[in-house]
Symmetry: C2
């Protein structure tokens, strides 16, 4: 429908998650009308990222080196590991400044519906780390969803026999939230997990 | 926050219209986890599009040549021109198969709020075409918005003295729509623009 080079770009953009045919058109025409340098910077950023970034050989975080900056940081506590579903969860936890251990990126969560079993996640690698790195606590920070909870349960059963403490961040009311607006499952968990003040 | 090559890609993606920080992260990590070839095809599509596409010297449609395929099509009627805000509106009108003239891409619509006056739109070029190409009718297919209507009015006043017929597509009820659900402005225009059956 469009000139071939434009249509080709629309098709490529429409393959991105959450980008439909219409947004792909809008983005393509934005890139067509943008400064040449702006369009080129985006293309270069894609190429450079793929060329320069790989996965940390220890924790599978993204890194430009053999190991990521967190694993290489000697001030961090190697005996406590926070398990996350995806590398993009790490900066979110880092921002809290509440965690000074290392990470382990599973690559997802167990989901029978999506056909994701424990064998496609990086569980073996985690067990090897618990065995080899003197890890004392594993915080399972998978999402508070059915899949994330299932994965946490699975990990607790997998790692428990190894003598490591397996914990999970508390579920409860968001700070600054309103009890009126809390959904019943979250409120229920907040009550179950109540703490003495 | 992320590794520099990833952060750079997130920043570039977040500059795109309608892409926030969060979607930019999601897209960047999608491109990180995608097949190398898929990521490269997107980058290449951006570069190729910029290298191969330019604006038609006559109507400012996108084209891979000096003039676009519509302007070059000898079967089309050069005496009737459809004015659109953007090149991406052209395939939409083409799909109707109701128009067999040429186009003129204004590059936007008059919007005092956005600081877009007639001088930044391709009005001079349109006047020159009306003067030089024996154009008899100009259909102003700008969007049925305040800006599009203002632009249409402006063009009518600009082109009227040149002896050319200036028309505008009808506003009214969408075909297949329900009068119950029509907003009052659209329904009002549909009644004002009623036709004998």
């Amino acid at each position: 429908m469009f000139e071939p080079p434009v249509q080709r770009l629309i098709d490529e953009l429409a393959r991105l998650p959450g980008v439909g045919q219409k947004s792909a058109q809008r983005l393509a025409f934005h890139l067509l009308n943008a400064e040449e340098a702006d369009a080129r910077r985006l293309a270069d950023a894609i190429i450079d990222m793929r060329a320069q970034v790989r996965l940390c050989s220890r924790c599978f975080n993204v890194t430009a080196d053999e190991e990521c900056s967190i694993c290489l940081d000697m001030r961090r506590d190697p005996s406590i590991v926070c398990v996350v579903e995806r590398a993009q969860d790490i900066p979110v936890i880092e921002r809290t400044q509440e965690f000074r251990g290392r990470y382990h990126v599973l690559g997802g969560a167990i989901s029978p519906i999506a056909g994701i079993g424990p064998e496609v996640l990086r569980m073996k690698e985690l067990v090897a780390r618990v065995d080899g790195e003197g890890i004392k606590e594993v915080i399972v920070a998978t999402n508070p969803t059915v899949e994330g909870d299932t994965t946490a349960m699975y990990l607790a059963r997998l790692l428990g026999p190894l003598g490591v403490l397996v914990t999970r961040p508390a579920s409860g009311l968001p700070v600054g939230g309103d009890i009126d607006y809390a959904d019943e499952i979250t409120l229920g968990r907040a009550i179950t997990g109540r703490r003495e003040i």
